[in-house]
Subunit: 275 residues, 2 copies
């Protein structure tokens, strides 16, 4: 069973003529990056001619050079997507059904934050803290609880925070209250919900500032969003994981609270006394 192109090559390198073998060896030596460059560069690196490279990839079973490159890219993508598989040391993972799930979740969080700069988070926090209008939050089938969670916290440190719940018709009608000064926080991961996309589009047309929490494949709502947070969701389970997005949400809640420290503290004391 051959799963990678590198294996395929070492499998057939014996049957190749001299020049093609040199091509194969240079590819293995700087795998797989040389293969992603142009035929001319590849051939120069290997010290052979361009047609030799093309004959080489043809012998591997690819119809043409681009097809070969796509295969390499797919392989790379799979490798980069799950850092777990690379560092996976079966010894440490006690063999229980739990650990892989936890490991994947931790990886997802690291990856999510690796693609998310402090600057971006600060920007979003500032948007949420210093918006001049209202804040609305909404989520999809599985992510709506995240919207609720965030709303529950934000509503304590600032006024005019609303979670949009219930039937579609109900929150669609709230669009009439939304304008340029307002912020709409949307949670939407696969499978993306049409109703949410439509909602986001309309809100966008009304000039609402949209902050989107989505997965790495980006909900179509990304087109309308001013800020996009792409969290990793893949775990060894039947379901996608929203844990990474949850942590980002908590981070933002913390950041907003900090930015509103002075006003927020006063507000919290007021709330306490209301009990």
């Amino acid at each position: 069973m051959i799963s990678s192109i590198a294996e395929l090559i070492s499998d057939r390198i014996g049957t190749m003529p001299a020049s093609e073998r040199r091509a194969a060896q240079t590819l293995i030596a700087n795998y797989p990056l040389i293969g992603l460059k142009t035929v001319a560069e590849f051939s120069a690196a290997a010290g052979v001619s361009s047609p030799t490279i093309l004959r080489f990839v043809a012998r591997l079973g690819f119809q043409n050079y681009p097809e070969f490159q796509s295969a390499l890219q797919d392989e790379l993508a799979a490798q980069l997507q799950s850092p777990a598989t690379r560092t996976l040391n079966p010894a440490s993972s006690g063999g229980g059904a739990v650990s892989p799930m936890l490991e994947a979740t931790l990886d997802n969080m690291r990856e999510t934050f690796r693609h998310l700069s402090d600057r971006q988070l600060a920007d979003i926090a500032a948007t949420l803290a210093h918006r001049r209008g209202k804040t609305f939050l909404i989520g999809g089938r599985f992510t709506d609880p995240l919207a609720r969670y965030m709303a529950a916290h934000l509503a304590i440190v600032q006024p005019d925070v609303y979670h949009l719940a219930g039937q579609e018709g109900i929150w669609r009608d709230r669009l009439i209250d939304m304008g340029k000064r307002d912020v709409l926080v949307i949670f939407d991961i696969r499978r993306y919900q049409d109703s949410l996309v439509r909602f986001a589009e309309t809100a966008h047309q009304r000039g609402v500032h949209i902050v989107l929490f989505t997965d790495q494949w980006l909900s179509p709502i990304a087109r309308f969003a001013r800020h996009v947070i792409a969290g990793r969701t893949a775990v060894p389970s039947a379901w996608d994981s929203s844990a990474a997005l949850f942590v980002v949400a908590e981070t933002l809640i913390g950041a907003v609270t900090r930015q509103l420290e002075t006003d927020g503290a006063k507000r919290i004391r007021e709330l306490e006394s209301l009990r």
Copy 2:
């Protein structure tokens, strides 16, 4: 000091117009592979036009697209050469306001799972999967979204799963439906809510099997619970973090789903056809 293109992007993403920002976000989301594909593919993935992609790379300081791709490839090459550097990175993110929060959260999860054996989790999953009656879920002020999240998933793989929402009176009345064969999942972290404690006590008296998600200081409900999950909640923020509990919840959801695999799959297919 900017060492990677990803950093360069997050540094300048603030100064970019909307469409270029979309390009930036899609690149970050599938970093860096999208950038190695053709302009046409990149633009399609981002939902913008080709010139926008070119303007985007120009803004990053590259003379042309190939030069941009070469830079990405060089970066990838460096990364692939030394796998250490990519896992080593969390410290390098500059000590911004983010890292401590993330670090603390990751620690919380590790600690939480360290005190939680596979056996315990399997037991709880079995309880939830093979209960003979109904499952009820409820949470406190900030944790109710977690109850909702879990309910949303469990309700798909098995029947008779109910989230108790709304006013106290409403769910108090549901006690009349609860008995020995039923399971009640409660989320309760500081500050523990009296109403929940009373509710749990009554349910316990009726013989309901209680599964409690709480923090490391244990809600008073622990006295009535058959299973207790104690998650770490401390983070450098004004709020406690429910992230660890969230991950445990997801883990349980996954485990229950696996245990119900055969029946659950049938049920999921049925649900799909209902749409």
